[in-house]
């Protein structure tokens, strides 16, 4: 056996040590991303989540205009943080359809009264069925849906100021 092969185990050890050290310095992505991007929205029909707003069905997404689908809940704290940014998107002409996860109509009404209402419709998803259908794993999440009802983009977590231009760009791409 040649001399250099003696160093092979040490070399391998150093390689794995380096690999582990490198992986430790990488930020961990703890989000479970939806694998439904590029696929059409599943068929669904949700009853209204608030008394004065209509519910949501798949047909509401297929009139040729891209819009946002916001998965949220009145009991979700980051949803309060994203409310002003959803309002700013609404002011810029974006239609936002909401889906309220495991929520009560009176809580939804209280949330909208306190933090503003950027939604044209809100569907009630009491058993997280719709949430599971589109591969969403938490609240809040925002999906870009194109005019044919196809899912184009998923934003996980609350929408922050810097995400507003990003989402506008995705909506523009979806309109092409």
């Amino acid at each position: 056996m040649r001399r250099w092969t003696l160093w092979l185990p040490l070399g391998l050890f150093a390689f794995f040590l380096g690999l582990a050290a490198y992986q430790l310095t990488q930020p961990k992505d703890e989000f479970v991303h939806s694998t439904m991007i590029g696929k059409p929205l599943p068929q669904f029909a949700l009853k209204p989540a608030a008394a004065d707003l209509p519910g949501v069905t798949t047909a509401d997404f297929t009139d040729g205009k891209p819009r946002l689908l916001n998965i949220w809940a009145s009991w979700c704290l980051p949803c309060i943080a994203e409310a002003p940014h959803l309002a700013s998107l609404r002011e810029q002409g974006v239609e936002i359809i909401g889906i309220a996860i495991r929520d009560r109509p009176e809580d939804v009404a209280r949330f909208l009264a306190a933090h503003g209402n950027p939604y044209t419709r809100i569907g009630a998803d009491d058993l997280s069925e719709m949430q599971l259908e589109i591969g969403s794993s938490g609240v809040p999440e925002t999906f870009v849906i194109d005019g044919e009802g196809k899912i184009r983009h998923q934003h996980i977590g609350d929408v922050r100021a810097e995400n507003v231009p990003e989402l506008l760009e995705k909506l523009r791409e979806a309109a092409e």
């Binding site: 495991r102 997280s128 259908e133 938490g138």
Partner: protein
Amino acid sequence: MRVVLVALLTLLAFPLAAQDSMPPAPYAYRQLDDPRQEAAAQKLMETLRCLKCQSQSIADSDAPMAGDMRHQVRTRIAAGEEPEAIRAWLVERYGDYVSYAPQISSVTWPLFAVPLLILILAAMILRRRIGARGDA
């Protein structure tokens, strides 16, 4: 003593994210009436990842979303759906990560192939060594 008390209190700390006040889904905590179906559902639920608390299975988690997933699994099983079809339905939406039962795919095949390769390599080296000793 105070340190111990504080340490004990942190065990009782509530998670930061608020949870809803809705009752759990009908089949989140209720077993199916047919014991055979319930066993099939239980077996499947133990191999599906809770998306909110990713180190637990949905059978093991009290997160409301895990309860909704158990409801989904039980009602589908009760409707006669095959467990593997339900798993495939979830994998289609969340990717392989949602399942604790690894599948061979274009991404995961090295995990299955590498141990086999190492075994074959080890067998070859052993044979050469033992063969060489026999010659001497």
